[in-house]
């Protein structure tokens, strides 16, 4: 198992704060032990970079502003290979540029955290306004097959909490993880409570043998996660984005090695999906209509749920905290209910939900730029109830 410790870091801002989601994300990263941030300014995530630029030099960490998001992503993979807990933050256009080295992080099993404060797209889209349209890009955006761990925080407090969790999962599984925020949650100011007693930190597994002894950098333990040797420790490792064997050596023309290595990389996450998946249930016990929502949209959905309950309608909500891995079993168990999926895109998570409820969902969509109004969701509830 990877090492678990209680957070004792003096850098943690203990106490209660009135803080934006972006700032809470940066503080969560620092509390998680992040000491390397590489990024490129982009609305609406720039405040994360700005806070890291101010805070990291105070706590002995490195802030590096790169020439673009391609370089930012490459730099955090490099820093993590040297042992740093590393993060970058961006929005849609930058997230597109990062896809290349996100693939490298998966293939080389390098832990790191990527924050996407989503805005309206495609292309430059709506830089200052909300979008939730990168939910499939985070799942499939880089080429090839890979398994994703992504969180969708719905408040500044969750920006803090789930940034820490993203680091812990990245370290535990040796994988990049994602915080899929949105403009609204990034720019909302709310109370954030930081209590070190509640913060548990996980660090990547280290080699079981000393340098000089036989060590294969991609030979897994029984949990399918290989211990990680860092650059400069003397293990003389080779790490490549090519298909490679357990020694780390290229095997780019050997389909059986591709099969073995890639299957393990998928299974190390998917076999543990029950330990990763998180969701929140609201009044599902007697619900005949169920809202499935995530991020800021879940807050509008919750308000609509309250209004509907006041009118005697049996409505519940399943809030996706991890859109990926998708809580498939929980969603499948809701298939008897009428399912409403509000989201600020043309219907992305709705497609995944429909695969599991095996019928069309009632979709409520806004294509970007503003949050769905609770009244719009309420109207859909009344229509299907």
């Amino acid at each position: 198992m990877s090492a678990q410790v209680q957070a004792t870091d003096q850098a943690i801002l203990v106490g209660q704060h009135f803080m934006s989601g972006d700032d809470a994300c940066a503080e969560g990263a620092i509390a998680a032990g992040c000491r390397f941030f590489a990024g490129y300014p982009i609305t609406p995530s720039s405040e994360i970079a700005e806070r890291m630029a101010r805070r990291l030099p105070q706590v002995g960490g490195i802030y590096l502003q790169m020439e673009d998001e391609i370089a930012s992503m490459a730099a955090i993979v490099g820093a993590s290979c040297a042992g740093a807990k590393a993060m970058t933050a961006t929005s849609g256009p930058g997230f597109s540029l990062m896809q290349e080295n996100i693939g490298l992080a998966f293939m080389t099993e390098t832990p790191c955290v990527i924050v996407n404060v989503q805005r309206g797209g495609p292309s430059t889209g709506m830089p200052t306004l909300i979008g939730q349209a990168d939910m499939m890009q985070v799942r499939f955006g880089s080429h090839g097959d890979y398994a994703v761990i992504a969180y969708a925080p719905a408040s500044p407090q969750e920006m803090f909490d789930y940034t820490i969790k993203a680091f812990n999962m990245a370290e535990r599984f040796r994988t990049p993880t994602f915080v899929m925020a949105d403009e609204l949650v990034g720019h909302t100011y709310e109370r954030v409570v930081i209590d070190p007693a509640k913060i548990e930190l996980v660090s990547r597994k280290r080699p079981h043998v000393k340098p000089g002894e036989r060590f294969w950098p991609f030979e897994p333990d029984p949990d399918l996660v290989p211990p990680m040797a860092l650059a400069g420790e003397g293990y003389r490792i080779h790490v490549t984005g090519l298909t490679h064997d357990e020694r780390g050596y290229p095997a780019a023309t050997e389909p059986e090695i591709q099969e073995r290595m890639l299957e393990r990389m998928l299974r190390k996450i998917l076999d543990r999906r029950d330990e990763i998946v998180e969701y929140e249930e609201v009044e599902l016990e007697d619900a005949e209509v169920v809202l499935i929502a995530y991020g800021s949209t879940a807050r509008a959905a919750l308000h609509a749920l309250r209004l509907a309950r006041e009118r005697g309608l049996k409505v519940g909500m399943l809030r996706l905290i991890t859109p990926w891995p998708f809580p498939d079993k929980r969603v499948a168990a809701l298939r008897e209910a009428e399912i409403i999926v509000p989201e600020v895109n043309a219907g992305q998570m709705a497609r995944e939900i429909e695969r599991w409820i095996r019928k069309p969902a009632h979709r409520v969509n806004r294509l970007g730029g503003e949050l769905l109004h609770p009244d719009e969701i309420l109207r859909k509830i009344e229509e299907v109830a």
Partner: protein, 290 residues
Amino acid sequence: MALDLREVITEHHPEDELLREDRIPHIWCPGCGLGVAVTAYIEALKLASAQIPLEKQIVVSGIGCTGRVAGYINVDSYHTTHGRAIPFATGLKVANPELEITVFSGDGDLFAIGGNHFIHAARRNVDINVICCNNFNYGMTGGQVGPTTPEMAITSTSPYGNMEEGFNLPYLAAASGAVFVARWTTLHFRKLRDAISQAFAKRGFTFIEVIAPCPTSFGRPNELGQGLDEMEWYRESCVIDHQANLREIGLSMRKDSKIVVGNFLDIERPTFLDRYQEVMKRAQAAGGKR
């Protein structure tokens, strides 16, 4: 006098300790210059090993024929994505300043897809070494035109001649902020090895261009002959001039042209981490733990 071959042919190659023996044979073609460049690097690693232990030496490559260097050298080695070796190495270096990091990659990788990263890393003066094997084309993919292909040279995607001018790499590196800039060919083995040793000793962003034959993909269409013919041509046309005006040392690779080589630039400038130390002091004095 008869030569006793048993004394000449040994079981191990003299560089075996620093080669990943189990990965040999390599993928490079007969006559390719990369073997010479790798040997020069390995010799420099050995010469520096009293000052820089081998476990602190790291090699990072991008993609392409030169990109495969990382896979053959028996130190910690990272084979990254196309063009991204420099930003990857930047992350490695600033996260662990004890490492001596050398980016070993090709002209297409470093100066076409990776060109932006090169100029910014030089500007930042990140303390890494960049060795570029320049063979004037994309060898691995079959000899396409690249950012250093000389004008009117024939490649598989410039079949009637290249209409673009190639980069003058030492000039670009110096203008971007590198503190050490050299150019040698694979003929100048000892000069190249010594330049790499100098780069190891130097703090800051260093750049060495290694002109290397690619008889298979670039030599053939341009009638440069075999690898050995190209080495002979280097001998005839190279001029060592450490004080050369860098503006004037662009390469045409025509048989009648000169190739200016040398250690052109060696200056001092604070590195990224030097200045970052200053920034950390200010941050800690001003804000402390907040």
